[in-house]
Symmetry: C2
Subunit: 332 residues, 2 copies
């Protein structure tokens, strides 16, 4: 049996297990120019929620009745392309399927000696590079500035905070439980942490944690947490829009305080981005991140769920604030 997970129906609001279907995949054969890939780790990421809706976004929607697609690392078990041999470790945007045959151009070889394979779905992959380019290219942090990051214990957030520390900034992380926050503070050396679930006045809490105001806000969540941060920005602040996870399951357009008057008064910048804007600079990012990992200046944590069939549950867990660090599934 070669399992495959399909989008059975489009979620309305928060996704549930009923939106997914686990089936046996059609027979897979590697044709000329293709490689047969056995998945080892499969990534679950918040942005994938957008593709489950039938709305225009920066990536096209998934089709109902077709497999979900996302970041997968695996091993080549049969090759009909001269660049690959059996045993090669590869990464690609592939189907949620145990074994699949894909054109060789759809995958990239990994150096599994530099770091564990799963890291290429996290700190050396999309989330790590999202943190790297978003913070450095848009935020342009300088020593002594204050950086606030929401979703701080997530795959992107924890890298953002650590890079900001490397750049000499004061770092304040916002996350949803004390266990995550104690990890951020004690292991990753964030200067301050705020638990949004137990803080009644977020605006005041951010003001307390940022006595010199907020120079850079790396926003992974949106909504009211962001309103509270934006109320504390300094003149010339930079707000990096990376994710809006608090709004992804909304069924209507979100309403809130208009940010324009604040951005105007503060001569502040707000910039949305997607990491693929930086494709040409990918090698620079991977090399810097790998160097910091090797130096021990950057720590990394993953939440690994075991078992292919647990992919839907691991994905749904992203919206329940369960994971610390990068969430992924190991295909045992």
């Amino acid at each position: 049996m070669n399992k495959q997970i399909l989008l059975k129906s489009r979620p309305v609001g928060k996704p549930t297990l009923e939106n997914f279907d686990i089936v046996n995949a059609p027979a897979v054969v590697a044709h000329q120019g293709e490689v047969l890939v056995k998945a080892q780790y499969i990534s679950v990421d918040p942005y994938m929620r957008g593709r489950m809706s039938d709305a225009k976004s920066y990536v096209p929607p998934f089709e109902v009745g077709k497999p979900i697609e996302g970041g997968v690392v695996g091993e080549v078990i049969e090759s009909k392309h001269s660049n690959y041999i059996v045993g090669d470790k590869v990464i690609g945007a592939l189907a949620w399927q145990e074994i699949q045959s894909v054109p060789a151009e759809k995958v990239t070889k990994l150096n599994s000696e530099l770091a564990p394979m799963s890291y290429y779905l996290g700190i050396l992959g999309m989330p790590g590079l999202t943190a790297y380019f978003g913070l450095l290219d848009i935020g342009k942090p300088t020593e002594g500035e204050t950086v606030v990051v929401s979703g701080a214990a997530g795959a992107v957030g924890m890298v953002v905070g650590q890079i900001a520390r490397i750049k000499g900034c004061r770092v304040v992380g916002i996350a949803g439980n004390d266990e995550k926050n104690s990890y951020l503070k004690n292991e990753l050396h964030f200067d301050e942490v705020i638990n949004y679930n137990t803080t009644s006045d977020m605006e005041a809490a951010i003001a307390d944690a940022c006595p010199n105001g907020v120079d850079i806000y790396f926003d992974n969540v949106g909504g009211e947490i962001s309103d509270a941060v934006i109320a504390n920005i300094n003149k010339g602040a930079r707000i990096i829009l990376c994710g809006q996870i608090s709004l992804y399951n909304n069924t209507e357009a979100a309403i809130g305080p208009r940010v324009q008057p604040t951005l105007l008064k503060k001569s502040a910048l707000m910039q949305g981005f997607i990491v693929s804007n930086y494709l040409s600079r990918w090698p620079e990012g991977v090399s810097e991140l790998a160097k910091w990992l090797t130096d021990g200046r950057l720590k990394y944590q993953q939440t690994i769920t075991r078992g292919f069939e647990n992919l839907p549950q691991a994905f749904i867990g992203l919206f329940e604030g369960k994971n610390t660090g990068k969430s992924l599934v190991e295909v045992i």
Copy 2:
């Protein structure tokens, strides 16, 4: 009699004549280092509304019982500073007062042969430079892009549209009446104009006027007009926040659709600014604008109200959509 206008009380909502007091100024004497200035033109600008409230902004609030202050051009009628002689034309942020004595550092000499004196309160002054730096430095227009400007018939907007045309862009202006719009289209050669007072579906009207979407939005007004423009932005769009006149008289924080999800999907930038951020590049801006004026590539229009005592009414008129081009008062 040497008239002076005081802020009598802070407006709540839209300013009224009751918020102002016309009085006779205390005796004015030029002390050492000062010049005595007789006002000739006095500027009324939307940003001044912010200073009438008791809220922190980029400039400190006016004090109740003290004179209003703003852009004034006038003539030196007595000088106790070696850099100035009687007859010099000067500009400064001065009191709403017919004759006043000020430290020489508070004024700058004008070249009244390059352009009429009043132009230094408009196209060669704060509004013109606001258009110049906001559009070029933040918007970075390139040939063939589509630029939408709201408040298009105002002192800033009409310069923005003309510079965008000079840079080879398609320009769409939004203003509040057909007379203004016909001026923008026929005299200033805007490609399209939209009257927000007679258009029921602004979002559709902007889509019609911008078949290739919106690359740059120069926002002078905020509120629902801006919501409709932002719904039409392209990937990589730049939104320049210059003014939010539709919100200045609000007594509560404005609520509206959250822009962050759109900015994120479109990798778009939103940047607030104030022209004083560009003080060091002021001469570059004046020189470029003066060159385009001389070449005839840039046209300019003023709405001049005559009579010092009509200053409050001219100011209030800004919020009634009455003026085309720069609004100012001539002190007969």
